[in-house]
Amino acid sequence: MPSIFGEVWNNEPSEFGGKCIKKYAKCKKKLTFSFYDIYLYIEKMEEVRMKWLGEKLKNFVESRYRSQDEFCNKIRVSRQSFSSWVNEGNIPNGKLLLAIAVELQISIADLFEDTIVASPQFMPAHNALVNQNSFDEANALAEEYSNIISNDSLVFSQVCELSTDKFKQLSKQFRAIAGIDEISAMTYGDVFKLAHKLGICIIFRKFSNNLSEVYAFHRRINGVPVIFVDTESFVPDLIFVLLHEICHSVRRNNDTEETEDDFCNKVADLAQFPDNFLNKLQMELNQADKETQKNIIVKYARDFSVLGLYKSFERRGIEVNWHYTKDQIKAISSSINNCIGKIGNILSPGTASEKDVCLNYYTFSLLFFKEFLLPNLENMTARFVAQIFDLSNGEDGQALLEELKKLRDSIK
């Protein structure tokens, strides 16, 4: 079991944490999630792989040369090669692409359409989410994975339509997929399980300064839903953030009257804290004196953000006789955040060996590791590994690459 659970809960996990630990210990031992039914959602319409426009090349050539042969002679290719580019959708290699661009005096981009990385089609409003200024940065980060994440995997062969017309239905479906009853709050383990079952890859990276206000964002990379999470995010904040992004990932389009973000906030909130859980907790808190309320807060702080809980009560108009002001709750939440730490420190603590780092990432990014990263290790340079594990200012990626290979071989 990754040390995160031991460290976070001082080896005394809460009831919910305990459930999560058992399930993940089981999976880690089996090194497979085959006992799950995997629900998948594939969106084929939004994202399109970079599309080669052979016809456009033909038009350029015919408008500038007496014949296609003349052009072929200029760039020293055969007529057959040219024909395959125009009629069969073959794409010239890099050297020929450059030669074509120079000869025709065009940009290479003029011969392509669309991008591999599909961005969301709506504009989130809040500062904590991806805004216009950070869109390019988010796309650039996602594009780093465009060569290793593809939709050829058999994992994505099943499709499941998720009802998205009302937030309550969707949040209920999320909980059902994650296998949670209606009186428990969603735990870290539950949300990772939900993402896995929905076929959504979770990738942890240190976001650049342009994305520093962002906790997480979602993208489709070659048809595969991916959520990028900033390793600087505090662990207690992750559940809501991931649920929010999962909601974005599974929705086909904005079919509600609300903004997309408001809808996903509602889904995330209700999925994390069902009404039954909040009502029960409300009774507990209302009967408690100040000291007892503090103990309750500390107890649940192991499982989720206390401030998130406070806001959830507020959003749903559930009155709680708090002995603490909102600012005090914020302060408590903040100090708990600092105590539990950031997800990056848990995935890769300073003292961890490469082996431990591999296992930590493997546990929390299981789908990405199993389906895309580990099968492609032979084609990766050590530097690329260092880049995607944010080692550029630290260790050589070679040691990590070797450990990843050992992990891959142990799974086979």
């Binding site: 970079m50 080669w52 794409i91 290699n93 890099g94 050297k95 692409l97 450059l98 661009a101 120079v102 940009s107 290479i108 981009a109 392509f112 591999i116 594009e143 465009s146 060569n147 290793i148 492609n376 084609n379 990766m380 340079t381 050590a382 530097r383 690329f384 260092a386 880049q387 550029s392 200012n393 630290g394 260790e395 050589d396």
Partner: protein, 192 residues
Amino acid sequence: MIIVTDTCSILMLLRLNPAMFCDSCYECCTTQEVFDEIFQTRKFKDKYPWRDTYRGVIKPIPQGHVINAEQYKNVSAAVNISLQEHSCYNLSREDKSVVILSLLLPDIQPNVSDVAISTTDRALIAFSQEEFDLENIEPLEIVSIWLEKGALIFDHVTHMPIFEDWIAKGEPFPSPAAKRRFKQLTGYDFPK
């Protein structure tokens, strides 16, 4: 000829010839990304404790400084599209910068007739060759080029320990052809 040298090649060659970037007779250059990697990677500091001594002599060609923006865009696009569409390789930013600079050099320095790269990274070698017909010259071959031109005089006492250090640090072994050529020029066997 100009050889765009990657991190691994620089770290093998720099002590042998600290002037490798300072004089055009050595025909070497590198990228800003490679320069940054050499001096910002902490493990390199441990593995190559002498690296900081040479900070002032590595002179990268600044990207975008004298390069036509449109051509830079085209070259970057060609590299990225090739990676996405044709190859199964995964290259880092530094890897790509070596390829991009290699392709841009004829624009930056029109009197340059041939451009090659120098790296020991197999994926980078394969990608560059397959997609852009870029030749790779391994570090020991570069040493032989310098020796043949008279740009470097081989000194068994000072240079052989550096080669032994290559092996001790786990750097890739030179190819048999490179070792043969080295022996022909110096009379010495490359250390085993």
